[in-house]
Amino acid sequence: MNPRLRIINVRKSFGATCALKNVSFEVAPGEVHALIGENGAGKSTLMKILSGAHLPDSGQIELNGQAFIPLNPLHAKRSGVAMIYQELMLAPHLSVEENILLGEEPATLGWVNRVRRRDLAWQALAELQHETIPLDVPVNTLTIAEQQIVEIARSLIGEPKVLIMDEPTSSLTKVDTENLFGVIDRLRRRGVSVIYISHFLEECQRIADRFTVLRDGESVATGSMAATNLHEIITLMVGRELSEIYPRTPHKIGEAVLELRELAGQTKPQAVNLKLRAGEILGIAGLVGAGRTETLRGSFGLDRLKSGAVLVRSVEATNATPSARWRGGIGILSEDRKEEGLMLNRSIADNLTLTRYGPLTRWGFIQRSRQWHAAQDWMTLLEVRAQGPGQTVGELSGGNQQKIAMGRLLHHEATVLLLDEPTRGIDVGSKAQIYRLIGQLASQGKAILFVSSYLPELMGMCDSIGVMCRGVLSEVRPVEEWTESGIIAAAIGQSSSTSS
């Protein structure tokens, strides 16, 4: 049988970073094909190309044997490639029926044919055997699982040939997951090809016919799911050389400065125990959504805690405001520098000095020249490329922005640094500088909690690592006791293989 979708040598770079180096694979009609890879392996870029959000630099895509270059999301959908995102794309206040036919309303001269719309919506739901979902209620009154069914039903309206699902089970319960697998099965029997993207390998094993592993922007292997065991797949995902150099600055580990005991937030995390000591770099690995960011936010007083305790230098200080944490010498780096980390329309100097104006004031008035000189000193130290301290942060590159965000912790002279994905989305040169900086800080006796989704940097930088899975932090162990495959296994909840 001819393949439904064929991807040949697709490449894509963004500036200097190569997101996809060489990706090739095929999907047959009625096949469920699992796309597997670590965070940053290139899955999302590939999806964006298939759904028309990005154009590939080179390579071919064939749909039913014909060349196919999706120009925009509408074109992709009209051509029969539909996409279901991890965050559902529904209009929450509109009814189920309106959502299913959003953008495809049956109409004459602009007047919606409501009877026909109802029929079509009902048919789509019936096809998924979920006709029990009421058509008239607003979708925000449905459960997440039901909303997902609505989203899938919507994708059925355009007679899809290929359906791409990104982490569809990440927010579903076991029962709902089974239900979803039933739906995927019916799609398969209907001849729809499904590209199934998930971190949960067991799920891929259950539902997929074949798989392709992506690693560092390359498709490294394709095979039959039934004929391959999990361990082989994990090895394929990891098998990479450490390309970056991680500085091994000697540092001495001292007293515990931050301790979390059975920390639990409103939804995430559920149970986190860790002891961060002066001069230590402690890494937290885990999948996106495992509750790592929430752990940092909760212990910093940004999110409300449900239970547990936070001890700062062995003194109980569980419920504190962010301002109290800063005063206690703790600093936080947000994972989202654009939305939370930085004031994009303010100057570098303003961003660097925001938490600590004290040394810049005289008689209560901020001395602009002192602020400027302080900012300039940090910019020199961090090798920030900018016109000067007065330049607006929004004009800088991602790497330089991140250095400014880090610089704020330096200016504050924080002794405990909570770093959430400090190297996300920045160029390799800036990454190396941030690694060096983290090493230096540790050698000065500062304690660093390092959250990252990129395993090599955790393995390269940290003294000890804990792995977070569905809100629970594993035992924190010295880095020597971990292997990359052990961490991945723990992150996806495969604790049995950690012993290997």
């Binding site: 940004l302 962010p322 005063r327 939305e339 925001l354 938490t355 104006y357 901020i366 000067g388 704020r408």
Partner: protein, 329 residues
């Protein structure tokens, strides 16, 4: 570039940003002076005195509004607050309270309205637009209720009438006390906004509230403070209104908030917060007054003035978008 040089450079850039509105002011004056009939009168001291007196109320309101808009908020209840405090002031005078007590309570009434706005906005995380739209109605109604839906005349001879009085109408000086008060407050607030931790935190909240929270700024408390402080300015604007009309009028200053917001926006502030300057807002207020004054002398009808002011606001914001578009890229 070394920091001192770079600091100078940044001051230059900021000066250019202020020059923008200033240039607008010159442009407006220049356009009116094209008319041979208006020109001889436009540039007399007596006329500038009129313009300055007409600016005072909008300018003092714009001081408060600048703090609010820089913090990313908005206040629609200004006109009502002005009416309320002017009615309250006149009533107190009629009841025989001293001038000092009257001034104090008039200004505090504005501060109280601001405090209530701030508490609702920060406490319940409600949209400032909606909250102040609500208080706009409540306070206006309250002012009418307090005055029995009538104007309250100041007792003749009260010193309050002198704050905005136009003595020696053909000469620029002496300027009434109100003009000097507005000028002094503008200078003080400009320093506070630029050079104090409070001022920098106002900018931080408007620029990115999440960052402000992350960096340990107590955002809710700060917001209450911002709206209260602005309210005190609005109360003072009410006092000026009281002095200018020599009576408290519950129906006065309807739509004043829009003039004030326009002045702040013409002065270079962005309604999305994080940018704006006191000096810019003051020039914005002057532009509004010159437009009115010039249009009157041209003998233009009220509707022409309204259309022209509308066009100027849109042009000012359009220019601002162009400037921001450059920095966002």
């Amino acid at each position: 570039m070394n920091p001192t040089k770079s600091l100078l450079f940044s001051r230059l850039l900021r000066a250019i940003n202020v020059v923008g509105p200033f240039f607008g002011l010159l442009l407006v004056l220049g356009l009116f002076s094209l008319s041979a009939e208006v020109r001889p009168y436009l540039f007399t001291g007596g006329n500038f005195k009129i313009i300055l007196i007409q600016t005072v109320i909008v300018a003092i309101g714009a001081l408060g509004m600048t703090i609010i808009i820089v913090s990313g908020g908005i206040d629609l209840s200004v006109g009502s607050a002005v009416a309320m405090s002017s009615v309250l002031g006149a009533t107190l005078l009629v009841e025989g309270y001293s001038t000092t007590v009257t001034i104090l309570f008039t200004v505090l009434a504005g501060g109280l309205i601001g405090l209530l706005n701030g508490l609702m906005i920060a406490g319940f995380r409600m949209m400032p637009f909606i909250v102040t739209l609500g208080t706009m109605g409540i306070v206006r109604g309250g002012a009418k209720w307090l005055s029995g839906n009538q104007t309250v005349n100041n007792p003749p001879g009260t010193p309050l009438n002198g704050i905005m009085a136009r003595l020696r109408p053909t000469e620029l000086f002496p300027l009434p006390l109100g003009v000097w008060i507005a000028l002094a407050l503008a200078i003080i607030l400009a320093v506070v906004m630029r050079r104090t931790v409070f001022g920098r935190h106002v900018f931080a909240i408007g620029s990115n509230e999440a960052t402000a929270r992350l960096c340990g700024i107590r955002v809710p408390m700060q917001k209450v403070l911002i709206y209260t402080l602005a309210g005190l300015f609005f109360g003072l604007a009410g006092l000026m209104q009281l002095s200018r009309l020599t009576q408290g009028d519950p129906t006065v200053a309807v739509g004043l908030e829009l003039d004030i917001i326009a002045a702040v926006v013409i002065g270079g502030a962005s309604l999305s917060g994080g940018t704006g300057s006191v000096l810019g807002s003051m020039i914005g207020a002057l532009i509004m007054a010159v437009l009115r004054n010039g249009s009157n002398q041209m003998g233009w009808q009220n509707f022409t003035q309204e259309i022209i002011i509308g066009i100027v606001i849109i042009m000012a914001v359009g220019l601002d978008m162009l400037r921001q578009g450059r920095t966002k890229r």
